[in-house]
């Protein structure tokens, strides 16, 4: 068995302020812009928003489930837009080529869907993984 060229889309959420606070505690990033609406407003934002590393962390789990955790050699993210309370994340990925070291290269993406159905890309990611059979235990 080899990895599917396209990963099955996964939805996570809706995310709440509690998810942001849980991540702040787990990750140790207590920038008040992620949990204090007054501070967020004073910086010109409509409300608090999620840590980029929360979205990146959620996407990394998706990448591991798809490409195989032990196969992952690199993972990168570029933040495009914020994730707001109430948003649902839509995770997707596609194998786009091979690196010069023979690793599979995947492009990953996170979109947000707001409660009123507005959809936008919030994060773009890349991953490289050993391209051999991804879940060898499933070959039996």
């Amino acid at each position: 068995m080899t990895t599917a060229t396209k990963a099955a889309e996964v939805r996570v959420g809706p995310l709440t302020r509690t998810d942001f606070v849980r991540y702040a505690g787990a990750g140790g990033d207590f920038n008040p812009i992620h949990h204090d609406d007054g501070f967020a407003a004073s910086a010109g934002y409509p409300s608090v928003f999620g840590h980029g590393l929360l979205t990146a962390g959620i996407l990394s789990g998706f990448a591991c489930d798809w490409l195989g955790r032990r196969n992952l050699r690199s993972y990168g993210v570029r933040y495009v837009a914020q994730v707001w309370p109430g948003d649902t994340l839509i995770l997707s990925g596609e194998i786009t080529g091979t690196t010069e070291d023979g690793l599979a290269r995947a492009e990953l993406r996170v979109e947000r869907e707001s409660p009123d159905g507005e959809r936008a890309v919030v994060l773009r990611g890349t991953a490289t993984a050993t391209a051999t059979a991804v879940h060898p235990e499933e070959e039996k």
Binding site: D19, Y23, I33, L53, S60, G61, R70, Y75, R78
Partner: protein, 150 residues
């Protein structure tokens, strides 16, 4: 305002003790349901010496790093700072019980003009070395400070 004199700035090295409870807490926070993060038997069956860390676990270093702030160290204003992105390079396993030494430095600061006006990109690199002297992780992060540099 970011201080360009800080290119090459190195933070004092610090150590992280990789704890099982923190791994489970972090995995829950990022919705990673793979049992390898909580179940030692599942981790061993997958080939790890103990429960491994999720791919972005390096973020917990903030709990262990010396209590200085980027505001003070680099002269940036948190209200104008956004995370730009990050790149992790996985060079070896990191599992519960490991003790990692983290060395961080400012690799570069670049002025740019984007859709939101002038901005400064601050690029940091952290290297994680385990108790056996093996470099197991390299992390590059980009922080964006909006507004013109002084």
């Amino acid at each position: 305002m970011a201080d360009f004199g800080k290119i090459g700035f190195e933070w004092p090295p610090y150590t992280i003790e990789v704890e099982r409870g923190k791994i489970a807490e972090f995995a829950l926070a990022v919705r990673a349901s793979d049992p390898v993060y909580t179940d030692r038997a599942a981790a061993r069956a997958a080939g790890y010496a103990d429960v491994p860390v999720p791919p972005t676990f390096s973020a917990v270093g903030q709990h262990w790093a010396p209590k200085t702030s980027v505001e003070d160290d680099l002269g940036v204003d948190l209200k104008r700072v956004l995370a730009g992105g990050a790149d992790w390079e996985y060079l070896g396993d990191i599992v519960a019980g490991d003790v990692l030494t983290v060395r961080g430095r400012v690799v570069d600061m670049v002025e740019k003009r984007g859709g939101r006006g002038p901005m400064t990109l601050i690029i940091r690199e952290n290297t994680f070395v385990n108790q056996r002297g093996e470099t197991v992780l390299r992390l590059r992060g980009t922080m964006i400070e909006l507004g013109a540099a002084s």
